[in-house]
Amino acid sequence: MKNIIIIVGLISGFLFAQKSELKNVKVLPYKTKRELVKFMKSVVAPELGVKCNFCHNMTDYSSDEKDHKKVARQMMVMVQQSNKTMNDLNFHEISCWVCHRGNEHPEHPPKKK
């Protein structure tokens, strides 16, 4: 019985499974999962001081159900546009760190009275 279940599962996988490729990646330029994971792990998570579950559904990383992910996508668009300007000015590119400094939300200066 076990063998039948496994064989049926595998055949179903071959016939119906979706391709293992990047899903729902709309802004970032990466072509492979490895590049994407490396960017998230080494840039986004430490520069915001968060873990994957801050933005992602842990059982489906491609899902947009968390608002933080939608905001993060817009933030990345903002950074990309800023970097176009930075390149035009021949300045260094920026990243999340410029504002976030390892915090979920950037710190703001105290309000002037």
Binding site: L10, S12, S20, R34, K51, M58, T59
Partner: protein, 361 residues
């Protein structure tokens, strides 16, 4: 020095010694549950994209360019992975090495595919001829899992008194059990499990049939919470398991946790079981690890198992020191020195030297 390569009773003990092979320390240091690195939410086995990247970027001392793009994907639809472990144990009497055993511990193949929100995962433990299979629906930041598997409680170490996960070279007279009942000889059974992730908290609960005893159903529950503040990562978890048939009456309660800061981490676990043998049993595990540099770890561990707290002569305590080296991705080498103290004979069993070679992909 007497050398025996394959000895049948020994083989029985060791070949069947793969329960779950997750390394919960990695989960704690990453501040996330097992699913961060493994396809199976219960941990162990096939790695996720993050797990593969973690193996390439964080575990290995060097990552050759040729394997830096490895993803485990074949035929665009199927991800394949595997684990193989070979272990040796030598015993010594005084300063003289006496016996050496070399044996395969694990040779598992895993396959995964996805259809929409459904994940299908299959595993074949070739040495045990044991098939595992799970059909998982991922929804509401959680999952519903059905298939053939093992109940998930605690840190999911094979038991509390192994170091390189191979048990002891000989069963101890008067104490046939050297750990809680999650012995690796137990095969996958039908189970139904649900789990959910709420922020840094993960819980799962399920029902399994025929795992410890034929035709007996058991209920299990597991809760874990991760706390990360600056460079500190902490984890705390509780688990509970109960055999539902009155005849068996086994129930287990488990508390586990850990803390890491910089290159140092500690993990510990205490499990209390009723009706495992006679009355109440207790097992504990405590491990301190120092990450010397990337690819090199040194650790010390104390395991304790008392089969029945009513009797003082059936407890075993093991103290172990070890070095773990990951020269390249997918290769893990362990060297350990272990001493065991038996309360029955009030004596040490001598020094055991263990080594293990682990390949995975």
């Amino acid at each position: 020095m007497k050398i025996y390569i394959i000895n049948r009773p020994l083989l029985f003990i060791f070949l069947c010694s793969s329960f779950l092979w997750a390394i919960p320390r990695y989960a704690m240091e990453s501040g996330s549950s097992c699913i961060l690195c493994h396809i199976d939410p219960s941990g162990g086995g096939l790695r996720s994209d993050y797990g593969i990247a973690y193996g390439l970027d964080d575990l290995a001392q060097k990552t050759p360019e040729k394997v830096s793009g490895y993803s485990g994907i074949i035929l665009k639809h199927i991800q394949i992975g595997g684990d193989a472990r070979i272990q040796s144990i030598s015993k010594s009497e005084g300063d003289v090495p006496k016996d050496l055993a070399v044996f395969p511990m694990q040779a598992n193949i895993q396959l995964k595919t996805e259809v929409g929100k459904v994940t299908v995962l299959a595993q074949l433990a070739t040495l045990q001829s044991d098939l595992g299979f799970q059909f998982r629906i991922n929804e509401f930041n959680g999952y519903l899992k059905v298939g053939l598997g093992k109940p998930s409680i605690g840190l999911k170490l094979p038991d509390h008194t192994v170091f390189t996960r191979g048990g002891n070279i000989k069963l101890v007279s008067g104490s046939h059990r050297e750990g809680m009942p999650f012995r690796s000889t137990l095969k996958n059974v039908p189970l139904l499990e649900i789990g959910q992730y709420k922020g840094d908290t993960h819980y799962s609960l399920g029902l399994a049939k025929g795992y410890f005893f034929d035709k007996s159903e058991l209920f299990y529950f597991r809760l874990e919470h991760f706390i990360s503040k600056r460079s500190w990562n902490q984890m705390i978890g509780i688990s509970y398991l109960k055999e539902l048939s009155e005849a068996a009456g086994l129930q287990m309660f488990n508390v586990n946790g850990g803390i890491s800061h910089g290159n140092i981490s500690w993990m510990g676990e205490v499990t209390v079981a009723d009706n495992l043998v006679l009355g109440r049993s207790i097992a504990s595990y405590s491990e301190l690890t120092w990450r010397i540099k990337r690819g090199w770890n040194m650790s010390g561990r104390i395991d304790f198992f008392d089969e029945s707290i009513k009797h003082t002569e059936d407890a075993i305590r093991r103290t172990t020191f070890g070095l773990n080296y990951v020269p390249f991705p997918f290769v893990d080498i362990k060297f350990q020195i272990r001493s065991s103290y038996l309360s029955e004979s009030k004596s040490s069993k001598g020094i055991e030297i263990l080594s293990q070679l682990h390949f995975w992909f």
